[in-house]
């Protein structure tokens, strides 16, 4: 296709070039022709004007000559005929005509011939002294009439005595002249003597007394003689034209066209010459109506083409070619750019596809890696159970730790890929935020103890106990952040704080603060007091928001506005601000803007020193955004970092809270309600944390900065204590403790008791951060709690110290036990066409104490599930012959809805013990081998309640089952 396209493109380009050149050439030709024609028109115009000018001139000159001949005629008639004797003779005539020759430039001579009748010939001849001659110079034969020349101008004296009637043309002329009384012309002929072409003009002279309207006969009768002159047209016209400008350029022919079919040439070359296509014809009027004359003018040579007729079109041609080239080049460029753009587009699509492919590949590969890794880890587990010597055990443990790290990394990558592929879904289940935080804290407690860093959690009282959201993801976020903090912190503290967004506007300030990383030093210095900071551990923190100044405000806020939240108008949405503050190494300034980019760590040395992949924070960011929140941070190198994120949860309604409390959170012991405790701690933030945990246990708290102050206030308030029947607990921070303190305190307390200030000796509990501190405490302390504090650990300690009975101590939640709780005594139907699967599933469920029945076909299951039945749940294979799981479920649901209708219609049709079950709805869980494909919706669509993977995975089974089955603790047997 590309080749064809290129070919076509090439042809198109070719055609465009040809078309462009053609246009340019045609414009060139066109304009050239135009100029040429213009030029011709101009030349013709010039020719016309020149021709007309010449014609008029000749005509005028001719007229002048004729007029003068006319004048001569008058002269003759006056002086010759009206004078007796005549006053004119040859001499006078010749003299006069010679002198007035300039008046007749076209006539080379004039002569006068008298009319002689034959009868008068003899008289005439004798009077003149010569005989009348013919043109051939012979004595004239006898004629009726003669016209012998009697007077002649010098120039034509040779025609004297010649009878003009003897010449053909002359005779004709004479006859015509005397008949008309006007000047007439002969046709051109060769003149005597000169042999030039010429015409003869003849003018009649009449005797006087002629009437105005004389007839032809009268005219002929009155004729006395004839005046004639020869026009030597050729030489005369030539002389005339020579005077005019532009004579060289044109040739002129003069014709006598009396006989139209046979024009007789009067002037000019016999064969017309010069530039034939362009000629002009002018009519000449020489005053003889009988004769007609024409003048033909044409250029001697073709009129030359002006230079501009060539240069201008050429210029236009060049301009058009240039313009065409510009367009062509532009088009070319445009094509190239378009082509490039298309390529880019293609590459972009490829890149995007590659990105998606990458994510999918990651997801697939990590999934595939997970499977064998589970094998590896399982084997390592088993290996560790066998008899190993210490070295072997160490190796195996290392391998296991590495394997676990790898699995968690793979999970992270999988998460990341899932998020990128948009496949991660956020759950919405009710959960107890505080217990999750406690869990996370306990996860890191050993590490924090090892390092001796303070790890604390504080949740604002306003945060509802139970919210709806995704606990797993929330836990993941907190774990990631705290994990990071623990990793990078060697001293000081890590402080997790959860606040309600609307009870402090600090959240909004967070964005501003994050821009000021490391800049507001001076501000922070002011907060310093006694070289320590008012933070949890006294170390400086990157974000000032968690210091006492702000914290105090927050606390007082809570104290003065207690529990407004019980009103109905509280919003459905709970926005929490969670901040994780540490006093670790911080993030270098230059790395701060790519903290959330996947696989980016602050620098490569980080991964060498601290390990990790750098994917955690990017996942955290994604998760936070998925949960409708934002994350940002403040960090100062070598001071610490504070990560703050918002999370949006839904508020739970009251029933759900009660429900969730029962099933999800391990309830805290309630036996401490009404007790009082005294906290001795110089650090306000820290004691606020301690107070928070004690409050959760229902213990009222008082605070003192030092032991002495505590003792003082004990003494002062002694009267109150008499009333207080509860044992008094004193929690003392390690900071306020010193060697020998135990003895001192004990003595003091004993003293108080003796003074009846207290009823019984208060229990003294020391709070320490690491194992090492535990050793250095005195013997007179009742117990030591190693931080981090958790409500449950505190409770356990207090129970131990106070000797309280273990109140229905439940086993801590671990999978199998819980599953056992859930499934014990339940009747469960398992439907699968595969016997092996059926057997395995059944025995797995049996192992958890369930009573299992099996069905191999969907139809059997339907029979077993005819209402009323005893089953609590049904596990259904999806793919079965005849009737698959979806179909079976639909039928079961149909059955149930019918039955439910009957119940609602017929009132209490089902009597007895089950009356509290309002509706039939058997939890049906799909069993499917490929959990990834079997989407939740697909199961829901046909009325299923969830799905479990096949073969069963404990955790997933538990999660799926926990939603539907209520554990029956009583049926443990």
């Amino acid at each position: 296709m590309a080749v064809g396209g290129k070919r076509r493109w090439w042809w198109e380009r070719r055609a465009a070039v040809v078309a462009g050149v053609t246009i340019a050439v045609s414009v060139w030709v066109g304009s050239h022709c135009y100029f040429r024609r213009e030029n011709m028109a101009k030349a013709e115009e010039a020719l016309v004007s020149m021709c007309e000018e010449r014609a008029r001139m000749i005509q005028d000159q001719f007229a002048v000559s004729v007029n003068h001949v006319h004048a001569l005629a008058i002269l003759i008639s006056t002086f010759y005929y009206q004078k007796q004797p005549p006053a004119l003779d040859q001499e006078t005539f010749a003299y006069y005509t010679a002198k007035t020759a300039f008046e007749r430039p076209l006539l080379n001579g004039v002569a006068y011939a008298e009319r002689i009748i034959h009868s008068q010939r003899e008289i005439f001849e004798t009077r003149q002294g010569w005989t009348i001659m013919t043109m051939k110079r012979e004595p004239s034969p006898i004629q009726d009439e003669y016209a012998p020349v009697i007077y002649s101008q010098e120039t034509v004296s040779y025609i004297e005595a010649i009878d003009m009637m003897s010449g053909e043309e002359d005779r004709e002329n004479i006859l015509r002249a005397r008949a008309t009384g006007k000047a007439v012309l002969t046709k051109p002929f060769r003149l005597l003597e000169s042999n030039h072409l010429g015409v003869v003009l003849t003018f009649p002279v009449y005797r006087s007394g002629l009437p105005e309207d004389a007839t032809v006969e009268q005219l002929v009768e009155a004729t006395a003689g004839y005046l004639g002159g020869a026009f030597d047209v050729e030489s005369l016209v030539e002389n005339l034209l020579r005077q005019l400008a532009g004579n060289q350029e044109i040739t002129i022919n003069v014709y006598d066209i009396t006989n139209a079919s046979e024009p007789l040439i009067m002037y000019g070359p016999q064969i017309p010459e010069g530039y034939m296509p362009l000629s002009h014809v002018s009519m000449l009027d020489f005053g003889d109506p009988f004769r007609k004359h024409q003048m033909h003018c044409r250029y001697r040579e073709k009129p030359p083409l002006p230079l501009s007729a060539i240069t201008t079109p050429f210029g236009i041609f060049v301009i058009i070619m240039l313009g065409g080239y510009i367009v062509f080049a532009a088009k070319n460029h445009y094509d190239n750019v378009k082509e490039d753009c298309r390529k880019m587009e293609e590459l972009k699509v490829q890149a995007e596809a590659a990105d998606v492919a990458k994510s999918q590949f990651l997801a697939t590969v990590s999934h595939e890696i997970r499977t064998p890794m589970n094998g590896v880890l399982g084997m390592l587990d088993m290996l560790l159970d066998t008899d190993l010597n210490l070295t072997q055990k160490d190796y195996a443990q290392t391998a296991q730790v590495c394997g676990k790290a790898l699995i968690s990394l793979i999970n992270e990558v999988l998460d990341r890929a899932k998020i990128e592929a948009g496949k991660l879904e956020i759950e919405a289940v009710p959960f107890d935020l505080r217990s999750i935080l406690d869990d996370v804290i306990s996860l890191f407690s050993s590490k924090s103890r090892e390092k001796g860093i303070e790890l604390a959690v504080f949740v604002s009282d306003k945060v509802p106990e139970v919210v709806t959201g995704d606990p797993g993801r929330f836990r993941q976020i907190i774990t990631n952040l705290v994990g990071n903090s623990v990793k990078f912190t060697e001293r000081g503290h890590i402080f997790v704080q959860v606040l309600l967004a609307d009870n402090s506007d600090l959240g909004a300030d967070g964005k501003v603060y994050s821009g000021l990383n490391g800049l507001s030093q001076s501000e922070k210095v002011q907060i310093m007091s006694d070289c320590t900071f008012d933070t949890l551990s006294g170390f400086e923190a990157a974000d000032t928001r968690n210091n006492w100044e702000n914290f105090k405000l927050l606390l007082s806020d809570e104290m003065f506005l207690p529990e407004v939240s019980t009103f109905d108008k509280e919003p459905d949405i709970v926005t929490l601000i969670v901040s994780v503050e540490d006093t670790g190494i911080g993030i270098p300034l230059r790395a701060q803007d790519r903290v959330f980019t996947p696989f980016m760590q602050a620098d490569s040395s980080t991964s060498r020193n601290y390990g990790g992949t750098g994917i955690g924070l990017s996942i955290t960011k994604c998760l936070v955004e998925l949960m409708g929140g934002q994350i940002n941070f403040t960090s100062r190198p070598n001071v610490g970092s504070t990560f703050t994120f918002t999370a949006v949860f839904k508020r739970c309604n009251k029933d759900a809270i009660a429900d969730t409390k029962r099933t999800l959170s391990e309830a805290l012991p309630t036996g401490f309600k009404g007790m009082k405790a005294f906290i001795v701690d110089g650090k306000p933030v820290r004691n606020a944390v301690t107070r928070y945990h004690l409050k959760r246990l229902g213990i009222a708290v008082e605070v003192a900065n030092t032991v002495k102050m505590m003792l003082n206030s004990l003494t002062r308030q002694s009267s109150n204590f008499r009333a207080g029947r509860q044992p008094y607990i004193i929690l003392i921070e390690k900071d306020s403790w010193y060697t020998g303190m135990d003895v001192y305190l004990h003595n003091q307390l004993l003293l108080l008791k003796q003074n009846d200030c207290v009823l019984e000796l208060p229990k003294v509990i020391l709070l320490v951060t690491c194992e090492y501190d535990k050793m250095s405490t005195g013997s007179l302390v009742d117990t030591v709690i190693i931080k981090p504090l958790r409500a449950s650990t505190v409770a356990a300690c207090l129970q131990q110290v106070l000797g309280m009975e273990k109140q229905q101590k439940k086993e801590l939640s671990n999978g199998p036990t819980n599953l056992r709780n859930l499934l014990a005594g339940k009747n469960i139907l398992v439907v699968d066409d595969n016997k092996v699967n059926l057997r395995v599933a059944a025995s797995a469920l049996k192992k958890y104490g369930a009573r299992v029945e099996c069905a191999e076909r969907g139809k059997d299951a339907l029979l077993l599930l005819q209402l009323p039945h005893k089953f609590d749940a049904c596990f259904m294979d999806v793919q079965m012959p005849e009737m698959d799981g979806f179909e079976a479920t639909r039928q079961i649901r149909l059955m149930e809805s019918k039955a439910n209708e009957q119940i609602s219609n017929g009132g209490a049709s089902r009597e007895g013990e089950d009356s509290m079950i309002v509706e039939w709805h058997l939890p049906i869980l799909a069993m499917t081998a490929d959990v990834i494909q079997a989407t939740y919706e697909e199961c829901l669509k046909c009325g299923m309640d969830g799905y479990v993977s096949k073969p069963f995975e404990e955790q997933q089974l538990f999660q799926a089952v926990a939603k539907f089955l209520v554990s029956k603790p009583s049926s443990d047997s």
């Binding site: 499977t371 589970n374 094998g375 399982g378 084997m379 699968d832 066409d833 595969n834 016997k835 092996v836 699967n837 057997r839 395995v840 599933a841 025995s843 797995a844 192992k847 294979d877 793919q879 012959p881 081998a929 096949k950 073969p951 069963f952």
Partner: protein, 149 residues
């Protein structure tokens, strides 16, 4: 032979099967499901599996022998086989089945035939191991009951 030796042998056998990739974690689950209350569980499941598989393999062979192959039926059988093998934790058979299913979906007869042979091969090698395993377990149980008596 002492009980310990038998146990050891069984362990070695099972571990070798894991290493060869014949079995996966699911088999561990099965083993964990077996306790005092149902001592013969693993044996029972394995026997069930073997019976089932052999039946299906014969069916599959028949189906694929025909000139016009009913791929839907083949697919159903292969799915069954896959399900039961994954339940037992017979990894190699399961993986072959997945491949088989793919060929089946492509209606690729040659692929199906070669994959059927593969599955058979995997299955028979697994069965022989299973047989040894079951014998060992029987002996162990016999030992147990002897001791109890």
């Amino acid at each position: 032979m002492s009980l310990m030796v038998l146990r050891e042998q069984l362990n070695v056998l099972v571990n070798s099967m894991f290493l060869e990739g014949l079995l996966d974690a699911q088999f561990r689950q099965l083993q964990m499901l077996q306790d005092a209350s149902n001592p013969g569980f693993v044996a029972e499941v394995i026997t069930l599996f073997c019976e089932d598989s052999e039946r299906m393999l014969t069916e599959l062979t028949k189906l694929l022998d025909q000139a016009v192959v009913d791929y839907q039926k083949v697919d159903a059988y292969v799915h069954q086989l896959k399900g039961s093998s994954s339940s037992v934790g017979a990894q190699s058979v399961k993986l072959s089945c997945i491949q088989f299913k793919q060929f089946c979906e492509e209606n690729n007869k040659e692929g199906c035939l070669s994959e059927l042979n593969m599955v058979k091969h995997q299955y028979y090698s697994l069965r022989s191991k299973f047989e040894t395993m079951l014998q060992l377990e029987q002996r162990i149980q016999a030992y147990d009951s002897e001791q109890q008596n």
